[in-house]
Amino acid sequence: MEYNDSNVKVVQHLIHFYNVTKTYDNGVKALSDITLRIRKGEFVFLVGPSGAGKSTLMKMIYREELPTRGQVMFNGRNVVRLRSREIPLLRRKIGMVFQDFRLLPQKTVAENVSFALEVTGASRKYIRKAVPLVLQRVGMLEKANCYPAQISGGEQQRVGIARAIVNNPVLILADEPTGNLDPDTAKEIMELFNVINRNGTTIIMATHARDIVDDMKRRVVKISGGRIVSDEESGVYSFAN
């Protein structure tokens, strides 16, 4: 069964959290009764102290973790109720930048990026064209044939970003994508995200970078202790709780 896009028409929101609670196996409550709507084409910052639940919230969307209670809708489909074989189709629509990069250690930089395309069944020809282009955009073309262990932390992060954007996903989930980047490089990456967002891709980005949040003047959702404590259009990163 194809993952069905035709449902999108009747849906206003790309993402919809209904009273989502997540308690991990060891009893830690990472999310408490989260309700959140994100429209198609939005650029949302997810901010909040370390351990607030930002990564957990993102994991709900691409189904790395299931909510303990509540429902998560993506593109008109209930993510919680997806059948096993539908999960890969969901994930191919989402580009993910992981906080810990998660590059495949046995593949080179170029192969890591190609893999995200191969998975979707893209043609060899298209892959050969697209991969160098996206590596160029994050400034990693020179290191295309290096293995992850052979490049610096910031370089690994940029490969992770390239992999997330290479197959033109509907949604980009970026978990602290600039944590290991210097301000100049971070700024370039944010410009890249801006361009992608203007082309219609929804972006959710968890970050601790006050400069960036304050600069961009986008929607800011602040989480603390697993709850949404503020949600402002065109917000700033505020110190106060």
């Binding site: 691409y62 189904r63 790395e64 973790e65 299931l66 096993s84 074989r85 999960i87 890969p88 189709l89 969901l90 994930r91 191919r92 993910m96 992981f98 998660r102 590059l103 495949l104 250690p105 046995q106 893999f115 995200a116 191969e118 998975v119 979707t120 060899r124 992999r163």
Partner: protein
């Protein structure tokens, strides 16, 4: 499956085999060693069978006939013996020949037999059974025949021989059974270990939207290639080893007869290769299964 997918599998598998370096070497060696053990035990079973069959084929039954039977009766008894189920070979020994043999076996003491007025020995049939185990039963049935005075077979010898050959059969089959199961276990465990070492990779692939089959296929191909490589190695070792053994034994222990190499190598290599490939594929399939589970994700 599209050709590009198959090519993808083969490419990924080969790359992974090369990059995983000694992990690959370890897995292949385990497959090879296990199959060598298995192949060796098959050879043992075959040779044991061969040897025991040759030994057992030597067991004979002597059927002594009554005195002064008509030639027709003698012939009839011979026909009856021949037609009994389980009889392999029948040979008539006239009493004159029996006396000659007796004289020969007595050596210089033989002149004692010269004093005899008439040949005291009876005509006899020497019978070979198809299966040494049937000897006692056959002997019993011959005893019932009209015109048969007495039936003899090396009672103690047959039982002794049977005890040896039975023991050999039991031991070699048991051994092959144990070794077969062990080989399967060892190979699948080694594949599980190599998949286990890459569980993080598998989980990342899943997060990138790879289907279970997309992840599984290169592992299968890898398992197949490694199983094949291990089996080829095993066949080579078993083949060369066996040829060498046969040669060596021909010189140093000429009275031991081994199954000739050509006969052995009509079945063994095919079986080992098939087994290696099957184990490689199913080993990978089973071991990768747990890391593909969607329970959590």
């Amino acid at each position: 499956m599209r050709i590009s997918t198959i090519l993808y599998c083969i490419r990924e598998a080969l790359v992974s085999i090369l990059r995983n370096g000694w992990m690959t070497v370890a897995s292949i060696s385990i497959v090879a060693v296990s199959l060598v053990i298995l192949g060796g035990s098959v050879l043992l079973v075959m040779n044991t069978g061969y040897l025991t069959q040759r030994l057992e084929s030597k067991v004979e039954i002597s059927v002594f006939l009554e005195e002064e039977l008509a030639a027709a009766d003698v012939k009839e008894i011979g026909e009856k013996i021949k037609s009994t189920a389980g009889v392999a070979e029948v040979k008539f020994i006239p009493k004159e020949k029996a006396l000659q043999e007796m004289k020969k076996s007595l050596g210089s003491r033989a002149q004692v037999l010269e004093d005899l007025e008439k040949n005291p020995l009876p005509d006899a049939y020497r019978v070979k059974a198809e299966d040494a185990n049937q000897v006692p039963a056959l002997a019993g049935s011959f005893e019932q025949l009209d015109g048969v005075e007495m039936v003899r077979y090396g009672k103690g010898v047959v039982e002794k021989l049977l005890s040896v050959t039975q023991w050999l059969r039991v031991a070699s089959w048991t051994l092959m059974g144990i070794l077969g199961v062990s080989a399967l276990f060892l190979i699948s465990t080694s594949i599980r270990m190599s998949v286990f070492a890459r569980r993080r990779e598998i989980s990342i692939m899943k997060l990138l939207g790879a289907t279970n089959w997309y992840i599984r296929a290169p592992f299968l191909m890898e398992g197949l290639i490694m199983g094949l490589a291990g089996a080829l190695l095993a066949v080579a070792v078993v083949y060369l080893g066996y040829i060498a053994l046969v040669d060596k034994i021909k010189v140093s222990l000429p009275f031991i007869n081994l199954v000739p190499g050509e006969e052995v190598f009509t079945v063994v290599p095919g079986a080992l290769l098939g087994l290696g490939i099957l184990i490689g594929i199913f080993g990978s399939l089973i071991s990768i299964h747990r890391f593909l589970s969607d329970k959590k994700a």
